[in-house]
Amino acid sequence: MRIAFTLSLFREYLANYIKTKLTYRADFWVEVLSDLMFSAMNLIFIFVVFTHTPSLGDWSEAEVVFVYGYFMIPYGIFSTFSNLWNFSERYITKGEMDRILTRPANSLAQVMLENVDPPSLIGSFVGLGIMGVAWGRLGLPFHWYDPLVLIVMVLGSVLIYLGLYTALAAISFYSDAPTGIGPLIYNIQNYGRYPIQIYNKGIRFLLTWLLPFAFVGVYPASFFLERHADRTMAWLTPVVGLIVGAIGLIVWNSGVKRYRGAGS
């Protein structure tokens, strides 16, 4: 019931988003273009690296691209629904959270819906395409259950991102000023999109167990990669997703109770 209601709200908010964007069409295309260019840059970076070396710690170019393609799918979905980068400034400092809290719907859902960003979803499709091409180049076998597994893995990865960034956004409830931790996490996140086996032990541990960004990249993707298949870690993806998602929700809910408003 509650979830059905929230989903029906999603449709309404999306309609509003489209109406808004129709008034600023140029914005929409600029955003799509810049998203795509950002992804292209990252791909080019991979290609450039591999012009200097045939493999990176046992990983071939196609495999690295495959992992990157996978990463783009959950990342695109996450960016669509959880555009919380300016949460602290807009909702806490400017006090827009007041408005959210006087409305009869889940506060986190409202904040997420108010910031939906559908153009980011295009990145997911591009990622799917990249994965497909790499799949062919690697000559991987295709099983009937692969698409289903992919969906489960992507959901798990999205939950990890949602949980981490929700918790991060909720930190603003506890502290007055932005703590500068956002950019830090964002930079760490970027390491998750490459095979973590190429990093040293410390970073591997960090990306697996502390800030589990490796579950939004190499671990779930490895399910499909024959040479690097690691089923245990792959299947941990949805589990870690549920745990991190729950943590995010808990931090948010207790954070909202500490919200203190702004201004007079």
Binding site: R99, T102, P104, A105, D176, I181, Y259, G261, S264
Partner: protein, 341 residues
């Protein structure tokens, strides 16, 4: 039945000190240094259904903090609140469906889309039935004359137009209590009057309980049967507006205009023995201040009965603005006597 029941309500804020730099930020993440500020200090009041109550006080007196606790935005440090039978912060989502909130300095509406689109979205959020929504919207649009504004984006509305739309947005779900935080701030006198009339009508026709904070005492005079005055987190007055004037009115002033030039000594001698104070306005005009205990007629008869010829007399009642300013200035109404003496 009580619409709002507040008991020993207290709100403390921890104000943190921020350390510098990224290292400081990281340290701050784990260990904070705080100072405590008490914004609302154990206040209690009850508001019955259908009442319009004004909530006044200086900036920083704790008005907004109280309103935010009453609307479920803030969680109180201690004390008991019951609004509409709910504890606001506990069953927030259920509770807010029965209240309307207008913050004068903040918008409920979506900035870039037509006003009507915002209303439709709010209809969904509040789960208002389509037929009810239509009836309600028609009624509100009619009374507030918004017909021409409905399709304009909010960012193109004037403040007065926006404020009227905000009222509609807060009332679409037919709340039984309406909270207004400075609803007339920055509005011109015409719009102010319109909004006051609208609120009165809302209260009369639908029995909506209204609690409003304001700095414009004319809002209070036009609307409220009751005033709660706050200073430094405590209630310093709770009662009727008339009583407030009665108790803390500073007396009256009478202005005499004489036909011939007068001197201050001359007019003062007319009322010798009475505790009054004369001031001279110009050559032919003088004002006398009469404390509340004294009858105006006593003073009048002395002056009128004298040899001086009078061309005009005006009597000034102290207005609420002055009373409130005086109370704000002295910090508490008890200090009043001393000031008067």
């Amino acid at each position: 039945m009580l619409a709002i029941d507040v008991n020993q309500l207290r709100k403390q804020f921890k104000v943190q000190k921020n350390r510098e730099g990224l290292k400081g930020a990281m340290l701050d993440l784990f260990k904070r240094e705080h100072t405590e500020v008490t914004a609302v200090k154990d206040i209690s009041f009850q508001i019955p259904q259908g009442e319009i109550c004004g909530y006044i006080g200086e900036n920083g007196a704790g008005k907004s903090t109280t309103i935010k606790m009453l609307t479920g935005i803030l969680v109180p440090t201690s004390g008991r609140i019951l609004v509409n039978g709910y504890v606001p912060y506990k069953e927030r989502e259920e509770f807010v469906r029965g209240i309307g909130v207008v913050f004068g300095q903040r918008s409920q509406l979506w900035w870039d889309i037509g006003v009507i689109e915002s209303f439709r979205l709010l209809r969904k959020v509040y789960r208002v039935d389509e037929a009810d929504f239509k009836r309600r919207l028609d009624e509100l649009v009619e009374t507030l004359q918004l017909q021409d504004l409905l399709n304009r984006p909010v960012r193109k509305l004037s403040l007065g137009q926006r404020m009227r739309c905000e009222l509609v947005a807060a009332l679409l779900h037919q709340p039984s209590i309406l909270f207004l935080d400075e609803p007339t701030i920055g509005l011109d006198i015409v719009v102010k009057t319109e909004i006051r009339e609208f609120l009165k009508r809302l209260n009369r026709d639908h029995g909506t309980t209204i609690l409003l904070t304001t700095h414009d005492l004319q809002d209070i005079e036009a609307l409220c049967s009751r005033v709660i005055m706050l200073d430094d987190g405590r209630i310093i007055y709770d009662g009727g507006l008339e009583e407030l004037k009665e108790r803390w009115g500073k007396g009256r002033e009478v202005q005499f205009q004489f036909t011939d030039p007068i001197s201050l000594d001359a007019v003062s001698s007319l009322t010798s023995g009475l505790d009054v104070r004369w001031t001279k306005e110009n050559e032919v005009t003088a004002k006398v201040w009469i404390p509340r205990e004294l009858n105006v007629s006593d003073v009048l008869s002395r002056v009128v009965g004298s040899a001086a010829e009078i061309s005009d007399i005006k009597i000034f009642e102290t207005n609420t603005d002055e009373i409130v300013r005086e109370i704000y200035r002295t910090g508490s109404p008890e200090a009043k006597e001393a000031v008067r003496g």
